[in-house]
Symmetry: C2
Subunit: 220 residues, 2 copies
């Protein structure tokens, strides 16, 4: 049986049984962004009157990133043969398309699968818990958001460093390299950094308050 | 030139220029444990009178793990050819010996190098900062310890999951598998888990106190 040529780099990557992508890039991206916007809109609507703006934005982020982790990345982790899919399943199409930016997904690189596994199974559900924690003003709200964000940053570090160590040659061309590999992942470096910074400061402020109260009690 | 046989598994691992280990296992372990005990003893002595027992223990842990990360793991990260070392350099001997438990170190597996790189360059110095934070009772003491511990746990997860995905066949025999690979790393799962749990609780308690104070102020 002649093997169908895949569009990924390195060109010698073996993908026996590869079935070409059937959806267009614009359809794949539109469905992802459209359904993400719908999620954000629903979360905003649901908590619209009760919460401050920054908290609503955070809940939208946790809903968006949590569902991305669980659904998209969860599918990848548990579908080692997504590149053979011939049913035009949307989730398989997403990863066939994304692999143009990083062929380690199609090639099942163990570092990528590990990070994605941790992200889908542990980080994803924790993101949904963060929505609940913010909504109910739980005492663990900031510390949970910090821990998740640190996990996301650690995952991104492993993701980028392993690529560099393995030659950083996994993108079909520089358009996919900068839009998918750098551009899409960049948000998961930027936003978790901002959230970590905010939560760190909030936690330190609470600790400081506590010390002040204890000192006051002592000096009375 | 005939290649010297290495003791690592898988047997087909290529290590051109390999120089056999010259120190005995007992010497390597004794020097590591001896110098670690010295560090612990010095930290205990230095803060002996001023701190509660649990805080002294934590400072000892941060000194031990921080120096292990920076010196031992730092050497590994920046010495890709340690297995060629013929000077009986102690740090090279450590990694020649440890590779019997996990040959991915000698084989320069990119996931292992990534995790060790993050550990040596970011986590290690952060551990030393944690000693200072505890000593000076900084407001960021608990949150720093939590972030470091979460990083260590994430690193261990990537370390173990990548090994499983790659076939879990990197130990010379089951003695090295259980003593080095499982036994030695087990401490970096157990202790960071305990510290994370403690810091999480401390941070939540402080957050709870803050909420109570605010509520009291409002109801006055």
């Amino acid at each position: 049986m002649e093997e169908l040529a895949h569009p990924y780099v390195p060109r010698d990557l073996k993908l026996p049984g590869y079935v070409p992508i059937s959806m267009s890039m614009s359809s794949i991206v539109t469905i992802y962004l459209g359904s993400s916007l719908l999620v954000v809109f629903l979360v905003w609507l649901l908590f619209g009157r009760k919460k401050a703006k920054v908290e609503k934005l955070l809940m939208c982020w946790w809903a968006f990133t949590g569902l991305t982790h669980i659904i998209l990345e969860g599918y990848f982790v548990f579908s080692p043969e997504f590149f053979k899919d011939n049913t035009s399943c949307y989730l398989a199409e997403v990863w066939k398309e994304y692999s143009k930016g990083d062929s380690r997904y199609a090639g099942r690189d163990s570092a990528v699968v590990s990070v994605e596994g941790i992200t889908a199974v542990i980080v994803g559900p924790a993101c949904l818990l963060a929505i609940y924690a913010i909504a109910k003003e739980k005492s663990y709200s900031y510390v949970l958001q910090l821990v998740i964000s640190v996990g996301q940053l650690y995952g991104c570090l492993v993701y980028f460093i392993t690529a560099i160590l393995e030659g950083d040659n996994f993108a079909t061309n520089s358009f996919y390299y900068y839009s998918y590999y750098i551009g899409a992942n960049g948000w998961w470096v930027l936003i978790p950094s901002l959230i970590s910074f905010r939560c760190w400061n909030k936690i330190c402020a609470a600790a400081n308050n506590n010390v002040e109260i204890k000192t006051k009690k002592k000096t009375r």
